[in-house]
């Protein structure tokens, strides 16, 4: 009897170890997602193609961000927006308008307003939150997104002040990049959908160069956010994240 029992126990242990190796925990998945999506610093040029119900507009900008709390964006086109600059430090945002030569500060719920009439809020545009710092996750299962196998994870906020209380994300099993997101309010209402694509290997990490944001409370076909070029972990001078740089 003992001769049979020992191999069976060993087999069960081996199987469970191997299953665990195949099924990483939600925390492990989120950590890997953070490693891909977030960085100490980022500098990128992007293009927002805003599909409003009546027209389509393209807005180009260059952004610098440091960690979660410092971000600076300068708009490059169209001419009407050219020279507009935004500085976000923690929960405060300053906007410089070159036509008025004024700097206006906005904060609070205003940060959840649309940027340039797009489907992105100021928070979406300028924040680079580490998911692990703000959410706890639960693996709901597995699903295919397009031809990619994904983990389906529900993230629930652990800190107050995050833009979305709950997120449902579909994480590529191979690249650990979210390919789909559903962003929910505290009330449980779906606020936005995101589709991430064109995943490329950049500086040793996977990163989606194209994101489609759709504010479900807004008419229109959504906003395409395309990364034209991006650099991670570059040194950014401190003066960039100062109010003085807004008027430069």
């Amino acid at each position: 009897m003992r001769k049979i029992a020992i191999p069976i126990i060993l087999l069960i242990i081996l199987l469970s170890v191997s299953l665990n190796a195949q099924n990483p925990s939600a925390r492990e998945i989120i950590e890997k997602v953070d490693n891909n999506m977030s960085a100490v610093s980022r500098v990128f040029t992007s293009k927002m193609i805003i599909h409003n119900p009546r027209n389509t507009r393209t807005v180009e900008s260059r952004s610098w961000s440091m960690g979660e709390n410092k971000s600076f964006t300068e708009y490059l086109s169209p001419p009407r927006e050219q020279g507009t600059k935004m500085l976000k430090l923690d929960n405060l945002l300053w906007i410089f308008s070159p036509s008025t030569d004024r700097i206006i500060q906005i904060s609070g719920h205003m940060l959840r307003q649309s940027v340039m009439g797009s489907d992105l809020s100021y928070e979406d545009m300028m924040e680079d939150p580490h998911l692990l710092n703000h959410y706890t996750g639960k693996v709901d299962g597995e699903e295919k997104t397009g031809d990619r196998n994904c983990w389906v994870i529900t993230l629930t906020a652990t800190s107050t002040g995050v833009a979305y209380q709950t997120q449902k994300i579909w994480v590529d099993k191979d690249h650990f990049i979210p390919l789909r997101k559903e962003l929910y309010a505290k009330s449980g209402v779906l606020l936005k959908r995101m589709e991430l694509s064109d995943v490329l290997r950049i500086q040793g990490r996977w990163f989606p160069k194209k994101m489609l944001f759709k504010d479900v409370l807004k008419e229109g076909e959504g906003t395409e956010f395309q990364i034209m070029d991006i650099e991670f972990n570059v040194k950014i001078p401190d003066y960039i994240f100062s109010k003085a740089s807004l008027k430069k």
Binding site: P53, R54, T100, I104, Q105, Q113, M116, G117
Partner: protein, 424 residues
């Protein structure tokens, strides 16, 4: 016969003075009240027409459906060609483009940092093209309290109360922070040209007026406008004519399937004004009815008193063989004559009083200090053709009705007792 009765009425002052006086006062009150209600209605309608609704208004259907939110993202586009077509097809009408907008007015300190800020409701009207009709329509010259009217692009008019709240003066620069037609944040600098008092509590609290082109520049609304307002050639709104314009417009611009195609609506169908117009008309009719009834009671009473006073006269007339119905008829004729005299004099006095109220108005501003509804603070009377004869309804009808009621008593006199009564 009429001359005979008239002589009787005027020579016997006791017979005529009180009834004519009562009829005159009643008719005067009816005429004045009618004219004032009429003026109240018209002042309210015309104020709404000038500031908000026009006699007809063209918008996109989604804009009209969400008009309270001032949804400039749903505004009319291609308005220059639309205006040309409107001016060609409706040459007698006056058409104006307007853009309503909301936002913050931000006043900076010398370093450019926000010193004071307040929410504003603004309107962009044509002030600098050389056409002064909008300036007149908004009565801007008379409303100006400090500074001057806009003379250059970038000038803004701000309500006096708002300027005091923001602690800004003519010559200061303020920044409008709003939202463009595309939903971007809009920031635009204006120089305060002057401060105004609209005389409408709802608008005096946080309103600004800027030139149409400046709003277009600020809100990225080139060749777009929230509304196109149309005014009929007649000074006052006429629902039938407005409906004719709507019918013709709908023939010229049939439904195309374009969600943002222009649609037209009349003043009556905006801001619950139709309901208000109906209610005030009903109140007017009710007031006249009350006067007719109450004056009938007064004349009934006066007729009874007169009957008692003329008891001997009627008795004598019956005794010498005059027919009951003849006496009754002559009483009615007399009442008609008194009614006419009272109505004419009452209408004359009522019209004079109404004329004064038409020219000077009645200032009820102190009663509406906290009102946010678009209502004038000074209410004027308005004399119309109806005012010249509306007083005849209570004046004539109630005099005759009162006399007819009191005169029935004549038929109860018994000829057999007449001489006894006369001897007594």
């Amino acid at each position: 016969m009429i001359r005979f009765l008239l002589k009787g009425i005027f020579r016997d002052r006791q017979r005529s003075l009180l009834p004519v006086l009562v009829a005159t006062i009643g008719v005067m009150l009816t005429v004045t009240l009618y004219c004032w209600l009429n003026g109240f209605l018209n002042d309210s309608i015309e104020l709404n027409a000038r500031f908000s609704t026009g006699h007809v208004k063209i918008m996109t259907a989604p804009y009209a459906g969400n008009i309270d939110q001032i949804p400039n993202d749903l505004a009319l586009t291609g308005v220059d060609s639309l205006m040309k077509k409107l001016k060609k097809e409706f040459p007698a009408m006056k058409w104006q483009q307007r853009i309503h907008f909301g936002g913050l007015i931000d006043a900076p300190d010398p370093a450019g940092v926000t010193r004071s800020q307040g929410p504003a409701i603004g309107i962009g009207i044509d002030m600098l093209s050389g056409d002064h009709s909008e300036i007149e329509r908004f009565n801007l010259e008379k409303s100006l309290r400090r500074g001057k009217l806009p003379a250059h692009q970038g000038d803004i008019l701000i309500s006096e109360l708002f300027s005091q709240k923001l602690k800004v003066n003519p010559g200061d620069t303020v920044t409008l922070i709003g939202s463009t037609m595309n939903g971007s944040m809009a920031m635009y600098n204006y120089v305060i040209a002057g401060t105004i008092v609209f005389g409408t509590p709802g608008m005096d609290q946080g309103s600004v007026i800027v030139d149409l082109k400046d709003v277009r520049d600020a809100l990225d609304m080139n060749d777009a406008a929230g509304e196109i307002i149309g005014y009929l050639p007649e000074k006052y709104y006429d629902d039938k004519t407005a409906e004719q314009v709507v019918t013709r417009f709908n023939l010229l611009f049939p439904p195309s399937g374009d969600k943002y195609a222009p649609v037209i609506t009349t003043l009556r169908k905006q801001n619950n004004l139709g309901q208000m117009m109906d209610q005030i008309s009903q109140v007017g009719a009710f007031v006249v009815l009350i006067f007719v009834l109450s004056m009938s009671l007064v004349f009934w009473n006066a007729g009874l008193l007169g009957g008692m006073r003329r008891y001997m006269e009627f008795g004598t007339r019956l005794a010498i063989g005059e027919d009951y119905s003849h006496i009754y008829r002559t009483m009615i004729y007399e009442a008609v004559l008194i009614g006419i005299v009272g109505s004419v004099s009452g209408t004359a006095v009522g019209l004079l009083l109404s004329l004064y109220l038409q020219n000077h108005g009645l200032d009820l501003g102190s009663m509406m200090k906290n009102s946010s509804i678009l209502m004038p603070s000074v209410f004027h009377a308005r004399i119309t053709a109806i005012a010249f004869f509306i007083g005849f309804i209570p004046g004539l009808f109630s005099t005759v009705a009162g006399t007819a009621l009191s005169g029935i008593g004549i038929y109860k006199r018994k000829t057999a007792q007449l001489f006894k009564e006369l001897e007594a």
